[in-house]
């Protein structure tokens, strides 16, 4: 038939989790392939112009956009690591352990002993009247347009959602010369870090808690929106509707893990709201119920880039050792990485995440 490439470990997704996983696999000597459907590595990092917090190990003080190059510096020197950009992971066929990739003109089959899925997460949709009108965007798309392509999505944006993404993208819009006419948040309080919200207030952006968008206005494209106040059961309070003039409605109502390949692989999945939706059930070393498959980063539960790098490294080390490759001081490294994760998760929003992770982890931490 056709060519079938063989690798020890294939890593799908070159965001922070995938990069960290590949580095760990590469260091172990395993024949590793890292693929990403974008033309360059980094995943969400390529849009993250802000400096990271946290510990030195997780690149505190470094801007997100600089991190891919730091990984690539080492990965590009490893002869046992192959990189494929512009290659979309099309399917994972669990019966044969084959991963298929396509780039529009070639269809590649890779037989991999282990697969690490690090495909990240996607915007959650929101249902409101005329929600399919051009001018309604996900926040990720707006961020890509601006930070990667230098394109304004419009001139007047209504932001929906006050999590960190909604707050940060609003600020980035202002920096790009776009007016943020208002930010609406259905909950009674702001979801993200108050330091980001304060910047917006200083810039004059009205932040309306207990409010949501109910209708997009316009015939061919967005020319306005109707927002309304909601009560504690998310029901619209009649009479509270008012029109807001805008040409972009930006949805930042949360992310949900991208887990198609896990489903394709027949992995046991669980719906965990705290993690953003369906995630694969995994052991403490990020291995899924299909023992050939590992999960890392947001695909395993929406957190942040630092957690992604840690879970990526955990997945890489455990995938490599499961094949018999030697990872120096693997146990010690794993303990330290898990401690780092616990530290990140001990912050204010951490309690829910911890409960979510526990829900998504197989009993006793081992299959």
């Amino acid at each position: 038939m056709t060519q079938l490439r063989e690798v020890d470990i294939a890593v799908v997704g070159a965001g922070p989790a995938g990069l960290a996983a590949t580095l760990a696999c590469g260091e172990s000597g395993a024949a590793t392939l890292l693929v990403d459907y974008m033309d360059a590595p980094g995943g969400q990092l390529i849009k993250q112009t802000h400096k990271f917090f946290g510990s030195e190990r997780q690149f505190a003080g470094t801007r997100g956009i600089q991190i891919p190059a730091i990984f690539m510096e080492r990965l590009s020197k490893m002869p046992n690591v192959a990189l494929m950009w512009g290659a979309n992971a099309s399917g994972y066929y669990a019966d044969s352990g084959v991963l298929t990739l396509e780039d529009g003109s070639k269809f590649v089959k890779v037989k991999a002993k282990r697969v690490i899925i690090a495909t990240g997460a996607a915007e959650k949709p929101l249902a409101f009247e005329n929600n399919d009108l051009p001018g309604v965007y996900g926040a990720g798309a707006v961020q890509t347009l601006m930070n990667v392509h230098g394109v304004k999505p419009g001139d007047r944006v209504l932001m929906v959602g006050s999590g960190n993404i909604g707050l940060i993208v609003s600020y980035q819009l202002i920096q790009a010369g776009v007016e943020v006419v208002a930010l609406v948040e259905a909950a009674g309080c702001i979801g993200g870090y108050l330091v980001h919200a304060a910047k917006l207030r200083r810039a004059g952006v009205p932040i309306l808690t207990s409010h949501t968008v109910v209708r997009a206005l316009g015939e061919e494209t967005v020319r306005g929106a109707v927002v309304a106040q909601v009560d504690q059961s998310w029901q619209v309070i009649p009479g509270s509707e008012r029109e807001v003039a805008c040409d972009v409605i930006c949805l930042a109502v949360g992310l949900t893990p991208l887990v198609d390949m896990m489903w394709q692989a027949g992995c046991e999945m669980k719906y965990v709201p705290a993690l953003g939706g369906h995630v694969p059930v995994r052991d403490e070393n990020m291995r899924a119920s299909n023992p050939a498959v590992y999960v890392a980063g947001d695909s395993g539960g929406v957190e942040e880039a630092s957690s992604a790098m840690i879970s990526g490294e955990i997945a890489g080390i455990s995938a490599a050792t499961s094949l018999g490759f030697e990872v120096k001081e693997a146990d010690a490294r794993l303990s330290r990485l898990k401690a780092d994760l616990a530290a990140i998760r001990s912050g204010p929003t951490g309690e829910k995440i911890c409960a979510g992770i526990k829900c998504a982890t197989v009993c006793g931490g081992e299959w």
């Binding site: 038939m1 056709t2 066929y93 044969s96 084959v98 298929t100 269809f107 027949g266």
Partner: protein, 384 residues
């Protein structure tokens, strides 16, 4: 569970089971319970290519298929279903790639015409008038029947289920049959994971699992599962009317009303079993066959591939009728890839057999006992 007894228990909520249940109710037998272990049309009926043809090589199959088409033609009205079962008579174009195959086709055509099925024989050039982008290299000839076509398998199955319910049939989903109580050769009850239903009559429409169901009644029924794979493309404007079939390539392809192309090929060496995972070998093989036979269609994108099971019998022909040694255990299974297209008439025949003991079309040759008698029915026109 609402009823703990029924006059008839139908096992299997696919198109055959639902059609049988409806036709029973139509004949006044409304104390019917249909048991489906998942949801209606979740098995083969929800996965099939859903082509409907009359071009067969045996008289019985031709007659059954012809009568099924007549029901399909008026099905929306017959079952009072909205929006529609989407039965389109856009025809079946069957391609022959060898002299031997062409001779078989000509014999089939003679038979079909004798049974009022209007089939045309075509030269390869004439076939091009129907599908201009067909690759006729190596083709010897083709046959075309305009009244053949395609329906929507989900709507068809749901239509029968809804019509059955309206007449009083009870349909229990997410309910699995775990046993069949038989005493002195008579059925006493069907046992499920949600309770027991006393009954004296069972109709086994469990598709690929019909062998398992029969075994519960102590019957050794030679029906097994065989994976068949299928894929669908993105939609485009209508460019191809008929179903195109080549037995030589074990290939079929149909553009459906939505605009997508649905297609499949047979995979040699597919083992008996219940695996419904997709394979990359199928995807590659399908793409190559498509590129060869219908080159422009290969410029479309595949949106999804999936698999389903044929309920196979030893001669790839249905198993219909009462099944000794158990009284009033009826089979309607073993369709081996043409269950959907025959379901409407099978529903009628089974309902007739169950309620009166005889049927308007004699299907004795398709009984379960034929295998032991060595009387296999050899149908030359089967596809992957």
């Amino acid at each position: 569970m609402s009823r703990n007894s029924a006059d008839v228990v139908v096992i299997g909520g696919g198109v055959v089971g639902c059609a049988v249940a409806f036709e029973l109710a139509q004949r006044g037998c409304t104390n019917v319970t249909l048991i489906e272990r998942d949801t209606v049309a979740s098995g083969s009926s929800g996965r099939c290519g859903a082509g409907v043809r009359q071009q067969f090589g045996t008289e019985l199959n031709c007659v059954l298929a012809r009568e099924a088409v007549r029901i399909f033609e008026r099905m929306d009205e017959y079952l009072d279903y909205k929006p529609s079962v989407e039965f389109r008579q856009s025809g079946y174009l069957m391609l022959a790639f060898s002299d031997h195959q062409w001779e078989q086709f000509l014999a089939n055509v003679a038979l079909e015409r004798s049974l009022d099925i209007d089939v045309k024989t075509l030269t390869p050039e004439e076939a091009l008038k129907i599908v201009p982008f067909l690759n006729i290299d190596g083709m010897v000839g083709a046959t075309f029947c305009q009244e053949d076509g395609h329906a929507n398998p989900f709507h068809t199955t749901f239509a029968y289920a809804r019509a059955a319910r309206r007449l009083g049939v009870e349909i229990l989903t997410h309910t699995e049959v775990t046993g069949i109580e038989v005493e002195k050769g008579r059925i006493r009850a069907v046992v499920t994971d949600r309770g027991r239903i006393a009954t004296s009559t069972v109709v086994n429409c469990a598709g690929a699992y019909s062998g398992h169901v029969a075994a519960m009644a102590g019957i050794d029924l030679p029906v097994w599962g065989e994976r068949h794979q299928i894929l669908i493309t993105e939609p485009v404007e209508p460019i191809m009317g008929p179903m195109v079939i080549s037995f030589h390539h074990d290939f079929y392809c149909q553009q459906v009303p939505h605009g997508s192309f649905i297609m499949g090929i047979g995979m040699p060496g597919e083992p008996k079993g219940y695996n419904i995972h997709s394979s990359v070998d199928f995807l590659e093989g399908m793409a190559r066959s498509l590129r060869q036979l219908l080159p422009p269609v290969a410029q479309l994108r595949v949106v999804r591939q999936w698999a389903g099971l044929y309920d196979r019998s030893p001669d790839a022909q249905p198993i219909l009728g009462e099944c000794p040694p158990v009284e009033r255990f009826f089979n309607a299974n073993g369709f081996s890839g043409h269950g959907f297209m025959l379901a409407p008439i099978v529903g009628v025949i089974m309902a007739e057999l169950v309620t009166t003991g005889s049927s308007s079309i004699d299907v004795n040759r398709l009984d379960a006992g034929r295998f032991a008698r060595g009387e296999l029915v050899l149908e030359p026109a089967v596809v992957g």
